[in-house]
Structures are given as C-alpha cells and as structure tokens.
Amino acid sequence: MIPLENFLLLSAALFAIGFYGVLARRSAILILMSVELMLAAVSINLVAFAAYLDPEGLTGMIFAIFVITIAAAEVGLALGIVLRLYRERQTANVDAADELKW
C-alpha cells in the first residue's frame, strides 16, 4: 500500500516547482502555466486526503472539482488580460506592465 506521505511529497515537489516558475518566468503565459502546476499540486493533496482520511465524506474530491473549475475560469480570464496587454504593449513580458510600481 502506498503511504499517504508519498502523495504529500509529490504534491510538495510539484507546488515548489510551480512556485519557482511563477517567480522566475517573465512571460505572462508561462507564469499562468506555473500557476496551473501549483493548482494541480493542491488538487493532489485534497484528493489524497479525501481518499485516505475521509472515504465517506469525499469532501476533498469535491473541492478538487471546484479547483479544476476555478482554474478553467482563471485561465480564460487571465488570457483575456494578457491579450489586452499584448495589444497595448506588443509584448507579454510582465516587466512591461509595471505602472503601479513607481
């Protein structure tokens, strides 16, 4: 039987890799992809907890469904914003959008 810690280990690794991507990447779309990695890591955690600790309630799996839905909405909305930024600046580099940072 696989211990629960294995899934938590995988999830932590995936989350940290996604976090590194968010911090290191400069292209808005690559940052979005890294955010997807982090969301996937959280979903793995939720499903693992649901399967091991809450087999009657299954609350974690339902939350994972919600996470997937929110991720889909987030990607659509964020890509709209990135397209808008690209049309204004001719670049998708997040360093080009720093007007709030005087």
Binding site: L4, A24, P55, V75
Partner: protein, 213 residues
C-alpha cells in the same frame, strides 16, 4: 522572436525528439523499478506511483525550465496527464477523466492559443538573470518546509479506501448543490468577462451600431 516558435512542419521533429527524450529519461527508472518489483521490494501500486510521480515532476521541471515556450506547454501536458494518473491511483476515476478533458482538452489548448496570439517569448538573457537563484532558493525552502511538516504530522488513516462514484455524485449534487450552482455562475461570469475584456475595440464611428446590436 518568430524563429523560436516551431513551424507545423517541425512538429514531427518535436514529437520524435520529445518521445526519445522521455524514453531515455524514463528507461533507467523503469528498469530500477522493475528490478525492485521483481525482488518484492515494492508493491505494484507503488511501482505505478513512482512511475507517475517521475512523469509529473519531470514534466513540471520541463514546464518551468525549458526556454522554448511551446516545449514548455507540451511538457505541461505531460504533467497534467500524470496528475490524472495520480487521481486514478487514488481511486477517483471521475476526477481523472475530468482532468484529462478539462486540462488536456481545454486549458492547454487555450494556453497554446494565447502563445500563438501573443508570440510570447521567455528570453532569459534580456529579463531575468538575477531572479532565478532567489526563486530557486525560495522554492527549495518552501518544498523543505512542506515536506518536513507532512512527515512530522500524524495522519489518522493509512489505508487507501475504495471510493464509489455513486457516493461521490450523491455528495456533489446533494450537500454541495448550492456551491456547485455558484461555481457554474462564476464560470459564466468569468468567461463573459474574458470576452468583454479581450475583444477588439471598434472605431468610434461604429460605436452606435455596436451598442444597439
């Protein structure tokens, strides 16, 4: 900028190269795991788990490290399909199917369209020389803290219980009906907002017709 994006005629090359790289990277691991399985060091579920975990982590590393954005997007597909495999291991077929359909079929296609429409390059030479070491440091620190916490805690159950799709559906559409409806409305609003935000603004002369139509 354009030169860094692969042409459609180069897709064969990408697929062959990607397959070779994945094969070469996974073959030693597969061998080690098969030997361990043969000597009964690990059980069959653990064998599948480590294989899937290698695909997930390898794809994730490719997503954040590869300089070519199309390659990064393709390794994101590998990661997300690997996550679907993890869901299958955890006994929730429905989530695995939803993962493949929504991520593999929807989100990644959307991201590829975004790449195509913005021609976004991630040029490390121009932008981030100084940021990567700090990002790596913070990431490693975060991973260390989470893993230490996960191993330090005592979790209640250690048995992977079988979950039935029927119970899952009854729970989702029974107790969680209202959140489900709210999520649906949220998705609708978000996608409408994305459309309104991203559409091209018309010339001022056509404004009245746009508003009335």
């Amino acid at each position: 900028m354009l030169r860094r994006l692969p042409l459609p005629s180069q897709f064969d090359r990408i697929i062959i190269t990607g397959g070779l790289v994945a094969g070469v990277a996974l073959a030693p691991l597969l061998l080690v795991l098969l030997v361990l399985l043969a000597v009964d060091e690990i059980t069959a579920p653990e064998f599948v788990f480590w294989l899937v975990a290698a695909i997930v982590v390898g794809g994730a590393l490719g997503t954040v490290l590869l300089p070519n954005i199309v390659y990064a997007a393709l390794s994101l597909v590998a990661t997300l399909l690997g996550v679907a495999g993890v869901y299958l291991l955890l006994g929730s077929e429905f989530l695995a199917l939803a993962q493949v359909l929504i991520y593999g079929g929807g989100v990644v296609i959307l991201l590829l369209f975004g790449l195509m429409l913005t021609n976004a390059t991630d040029d490390p030479v121009v932008t981030d020389g100084s940021q990567k070491p700090f990002a790596a440091m913070v990431g490693l620190l975060l991973a260390g803290v989470i893993i230490a916490a996960a191993y330090d805690a005592t979790w209640g159950g250690s048995e992977l219980a079988a979950t039935s799709l029927r119970a899952f559906g009854e729970r989702l559409f029974g107790d969680f009906m209202v959140p489900f409806i709210i999520i649906a409305v949220l998705l609708d609003i978000a996608l409408t907002g994305a459309y309104v935000n991203a559409r091209r603004e018309r010339a001022p002369a056509g404004d009245d017709q746009e508003a009335s139509s």
